[in-house]
C-alpha cells in the first residue's frame, strides 16, 4: 500500500482497512506476549476431562493389574511440549496399576525421551520397579513400519537384545515374548510418521482383538487418527488439552506425594494456550473487519 492511498483512507474505516497490511512482526510480538506473560503469571485455567481422555484412562484401568504393556515413544524433542506430559502421565498410570512396562522407539530421538521418562517418572515415583523384571528398554530400530511388521510375529528377530545389549532371553520380563499379541496393551506417543497410524495399520490390523491400542497424539496429526477411534484406537489423547485432562484423571486416582509439578506440565501449558487461542480468534476477527472495511475503498486491502 503506497503513501497516497494511505492518505486517501481517512477516519476509522481507513484505519481498519490499513490494519490489514500491518507489519507481521507486530503479530509475532503479540504471540510472544500472549504466551510469555501467562507463563510468568502462572495462569492455570480449570480443565474438565473429555470423553477421549476418559476412554484412554479406562482402557488402562480395564486390563488386569500387572499386565505387560508396550510403550512406543514415536516422537522427538520437537513435540516434547505436547507429548511429554502424556508420556509422563501414561507411565505413572501404568506403573500405579502395577503393569510391566516395555519401552521402545520408532524415532531415533524417541529412545532418549523414553530414557528420560524412565528416570524422571518411573524410577522417581515407583522406585520398586526393577530392570528386567518390571520394565525393559528395547530402544530404537530403523525401518519404520517394518519394525512393527516384524514385531507382530517375531519380536526377538527385530530385537535380539535390549538397548544396552543384554539379550532379551536373559530379561525375565521379555524372555518369553514372541509377538505383539503377548502384550495386553500397546501405547504409542506419536508425533507423525512412523507412529500411531502405522501401529493401527500394521499391529492392530493383523490382530484387532489381541491387545488394546491407545495413542497420544500431537494436535497436528490427530485428524489422521480420528477415523480409527474408538474401534481401532481405543483411547486417544488429543494434543496438550488431552494431556491436561488425562493428567487430571491419573493424579486424582493415583496422587503422588512429592514433585506434583511433574504431572502438571500439561495443565500448566493450558494457561498460555487460552490466551494465545483468544489472540488467534481476535486476529481472525480483525483480519475480516479489515477486509470488510477495505472493500468499499479504492485499492483497499485484499
Amino acid at each position: 500500500m503506497n503513501n497516497q492511498t494511505m492518505q486517501t483512507f481517512g477516519g476509522v474505516r481507513g484505519f481498519l482497512a490499513r490494519m490489514g497490511s500491518i507489519d507481521r512482526r507486530w503479530i509475532f510480538l503479540a504471540v510472544a506476549l500472549s504466551i510469555g506473560v501467562p507463563i510468568l503469571l502462572q495462569l492455570r485455567p480449570p480443565e474438565v476431562p473429555g470423553p477421549m481422555a476418559r476412554a484412554t484412562f479406562e482402557a488402562i484401568e480395564a486390563i488386569p493389574s500387572g499386565s505387560r504393556v508396550l510403550l512406543s515413544f514415536d516422537y522427538d524433542p520437537a513435540s516434547e511440549g505436547e507429548l511429554q506430559p502424556m508420556a509422563n502421565a501414561l507411565v505413572h498410570h501404568c506403573a500405579s496399576r502395577g503393569h510391566k512396562l516395555v519401552f521402545m522407539a520408532l524415532w531415533p530421538l524417541g529412545k532418549q525421551l523414553a530414557d528420560t521418562t524412565i528416570k524422571d517418572v518411573l524410577l522417581e515415583f515407583h522406585p520398586g520397579y526393577v530392570y528386567g523384571t518390571d520394565y525393559a528398554q528395547l530402544g530404537f530400530k530403523t525401518g519404520n513400519e517394518g519394525v512393527i511388521k516384524i514385531m507382530t510375529t517375531a519380536i526377538p528377530q527385530q530385537y535380539p537384545s535390549d538397548a544396552a545389549g543384554t539379550p532379551l532371553a536373559s530379561l525375565p520380563l521379555v524372555a518369553s515374548i514372541k509377538r505383539l499379541e503377548d502384550f495386553k496393551l500397546i501405547g504409542t506417543i506419536s508425533a507423525g510418521y512412523p507412529g500411531a497410524k502405522e501401529w493401527v495399520q500394521y499391529a492392530d490390523g493383523a490382530n484387532p482383538d489381541a491387545f488394546t491400542l491407545v495413542a497420544g497424539s500431537t494436535g497436528v496429526q490427530v485428524s489422521q487418527l480420528l477415523p480409527y477411534y474408538p474401534k481401532q484406537i481405543e483411547g486417544l489423547l488429543v494434543a496438550v488439552k488431552g494431556a491436561a485432562e488425562y493428567e487430571m484423571l491419573v493424579t486424582s486416582k493415583y496422587p503422588v506425594d512429592h514433585d506434583q509439578s511433574r504431572f502438571e506440565e500439561g495443565r500448566r501449558r493450558m494457561g498460555p494456550q487460552l490466551v494465545a487461542h483468544l489472540l488467534v480468534i481476535a486476529l481472525i476477527v480483525l483480519g475480516n473487519i479489515s477486509m470488510i472495511a477495505g472493500r468499499g475503498l479504492k485499492g483497499g486491502a485484499r
Binding site: 509475532f28 473429555g50 510375529t153 528377530q157 493450558m270 487461542h277 486476529l283
Partner: protein, 233 residues
C-alpha cells in the same frame, strides 16, 4: 538387463512375497526375512543421507559459493557429532562389562554425544517447530477471510474448536446444564460433535481415498506397470 529387468524383478518379487506372506502362515517367516533386510537398508539409508549432505556441503565449500562458511559449519558440526557418537567419546561404561568401551552408553550429558543432544540438538529441533506458532497466527490474520460459505464454515469451525479447547469454552457456555435440551449449545458439546462426527467422517473419506490410491499405486509398481523409479538416474 542389469539396469531394467533385474530391478523390475526384484521389486515384483519382494512386493509379491510380502502379500503372499500375509495370506499364508507357512510363508510368514519369508516375509520376516524380507522386512528384516528392509529395516537394515533403512539404517543404510541414514548413512546415505549423511553422505549426500557431506557431498552437497563439501562442494559448496570447495567452490566458495555463497554461504560457504555456513556449509563449513554444517560440516564441522556433522564431523564432530559423528566422531562423538561413533567413538562414544566420554561414554558411561556398561556396569556389567566396563572393560568393553563400545558397550557403554553415550546418552547422558556426561558423554559428548549426549551433551550435544541435550543442549544443541534437542533445543534446536524444538525451537524450529515452535517457530511455526508465529506463522500460524500471522496466517490466521491474513488468510482467514470469510469470503463465501465454504470459508465461513472453515472459520466458524476453527472458532468453536479454538474456544472449546481451552477454559474459555467452559467459561462461556459451561453454565448451560448438560442434561437440558439446550446442551447442544455448549462449546464442549459442539467440539465433540464436530471432531467425532463431522471431522471423523471427512477424514474417514480421505483415508478411504488415500487407501485406494496406495493400493492402486502399489499394484502398479508390483505388476511392473509403473516403472518411473527406473528413470530417476
Amino acid at each position: 538387463m542389469l539396469q531394467r529387468t533385474i530391478p523390475i524383478l526384484i521389486l515384483a518379487a519382494s512386493g509379491a512375497l510380502l502379500i503372499i506372506a500375509y495370506f499364508s502362515p507357512f510363508t510368514t517367516s519369508w516375509g520376516e526375512v524380507v522386512v528384516d533386510w528392509f529395516n537394515v537398508l533403512a539404517a543404510v539409508a541414514y548413512v546415505l543421507g549423511a553422505g549426500n549432505l557431506l557431498a552437497v556441503n563439501l562442494e559448496k565449500v570447495s567452490a566458495r559459493r555463497a554461504g560457504w562458511a555456513y556449509a563449513l559449519l554444517t560440516l564441522l558440526s556433522f564431523g564432530a557429532m559423528l566422531a562423538f557418537g561413533l567413538f562414544k567419546i566420554g561414554a558411561v561404561p556398561n556396569a556389567d562389562n566396563p572393560n568393553v568401551h563400545f558397550a557403554g552408553s553415550y546418552e547422558s550429558t556426561q558423554s559428548a554425544f549426549g551433551w550435544v543432544y541435550e543442549y544443541i540438538l534437542s533445543p534446536l529441533t524444538a525451537t524450529m517447530f515452535a517457530l511455526l506458532a508465529f506463522y500460524v497466527a500471522s496466517a490466521a490474520f491474513r488468510a482467514f477471510r470469510a469470503k463465501n460459505l465454504e470459508a465461513i464454515l472453515l472459520l466458524g469451525t476453527a472458532f468453536i474448536i479454538l474456544l472449546a479447547q481451552t477454559a474459555a469454552g467452559m467459561f462461556l457456555t459451561g453454565w448451560i446444564p448438560e442434561a437440558s435440551m439446550f446442551a447442544f449449545l455448549r462449546l464442549d458439546w459442539m467440539k465433540v460433535a464436530i471432531t467425532e462426527h463431522i471431522q471423523t467422517a471427512g477424514m474417514r473419506a480421505i483415508t478411504i481415498g488415500i487407501a485406494l490410491g496406495i493400493a492402486a499405486t502399489s499394484l502398479r509398481l508390483i505388476l511392473g506397470i509403473d516403472k518411473s523409479y527406473l528413470s530417476k538416474n
